[in-house]
Symmetry: D2
Subunit: 150 residues, 4 copies
DNA sequence: TTTT
DNA sequence: TTTT
């Protein structure tokens, strides 16, 4: 253990509805991909100008994610960058890059989310909810983030 | 182009001296790996508790990196998270995760850096430099970050 | 000079149109107040739940502010916190708290800004502009931030 | 309640040992001032180049502050910017600017802290403690931050 | 694989 | 009022 700090703040849109899982001890885990466009630049022709970033959450924050976030919604994600090395069943090395979220906030109201899109952006199975709910997770709830096979 | 934001702040130590390259148009590119320890937690036995994060810089910031940063030095890096997809010569898909730095600052003086370590932490080929220099890079200098083959 | 870091990120709405000034050497200075609501909490009855934060910008960033930002617009401001002590003409001590911006980004499109409000949110004297422009200022442009009497 | 975000990250040194208070309901409150030097600039002669920023913490984070932080120690503070308006006993309006901390981390080891200074930087009444302890507070513990008269 |  |  040494002196360190690791903080990421992202604003972007979910590319799909979140995936829900449960760890061995029953903690909920929610995962989604955030599309974060790079700022436009006039000096280069950057055809590949979006970063697709995996966002993982645990516990109560994961419940918030599965209850309220859907494909296309604009959110701010605060968390820390984690680079995990693991092996496939064949023993091939892989690296997973993800942001472990500890705070997620809407960056548009539900009505804005609907105004901006055609078609069923909002999954009607999701419980109704007031706009602009913010959820604060705490790291202490992420009790077994490194044990979970996902 | 859409609404977005992408900001990363890291504090950690260089695992090696930086690597220096030059892009086709002569812009300097400096690359190093930052070891960022995760905060200790009493509730899990996390044997793999450090993230090793690739840090890329361009232009004048890259010159600062190559002039003043060496293996072991504690620095704060501010930048944005970039996930690049590319292919090997064999056509295999690869993903590179890196932080494109736009600001790097010492988090210890040169004398602290030397006190904390045994052996030749400071490469004597590096020009002498006053403690605590800070360098601010600007995104506008990173003129061809996506053209560079590295 | 010592080891230090100072970074602020805010999302909120302008309480009025920006004020424009010019420093002695001709650099443009733009100032506005950002209303930043505190996250709602169920455990307290917090009647005074918005922070009103003065945002100062210089040079090209100040031009962006005066050209594109108006009362009510939702923006993300990145900068550093500055606490200035000064005296009134009567010699009374005063303190000014402000965030010196180095990056400002829209957090809603112009069409969303208009959908969300009643009345003339957008000043029609402002030049027309594409949605979602982002402006990056650099600290090196803020050449005389401490000389300016405002 | 609207869309908002408020995040501050500071690195600097305590100007004095923290002050300890207790709220009506027994929650501990710790307060200190952080000296944050501005980055040096060659283009101006900035004689007043340090921001002195009030840092407030509550609950377990406040206990960490009172147990481990002393005058001169280099720390990273993460929190949110709060601007409170209040009146003196004479009815004069006052404004208090402070950062409500939710995470504080050492930016130097205890041995570095001692190496860097002459004289009794470390108050010997403070309980001995391992280097590099990090404390994470959660906002939910700051249960009555707006009720406290300090 | 991808959001707007 | 101030840290290094």
């Amino acid at each position: 253990m040494s002196i360190s700090y690791n903080r990421v703040v992202l604003v972007g849109r979910l590319t799909r509805d979140p995936e829900i899982r449960f760890s061995a001890n029953g903690t909920q885990v929610s995962v989604f991909t955030l599309a974060v466009d790079r700022p436009m630049r006039t000096d280069i022709n950057d055809s590949n100008n979006t970063d697709f970033i995996r966002i993982v959450s645990f516990g109560k924050l994961a419940e918030f994610v599965s209850n309220y976030l859907v494909k296309g919604r604009l959110v701010l994600v605060e968390g820390s960058l984690r680079i995990r090395k693991w092996k496939t069943q064949d023993g091939d090395p892989r690296t997973t890059t993800e942001v472990v979220a500890n705070n997620i906030r809407f960056m548009e109201t539900k009505s804005q989310a609907n105004v901006d899109t055609e078609g069923p952006l909002i999954d009607e199975n999701v419980k109704p909810v007031d706009d602009d709910i913010t959820f604060f997770g705490s790291e202490s709830e992420n009790t077994d983030s490194d044990d979970i096979p996902f």
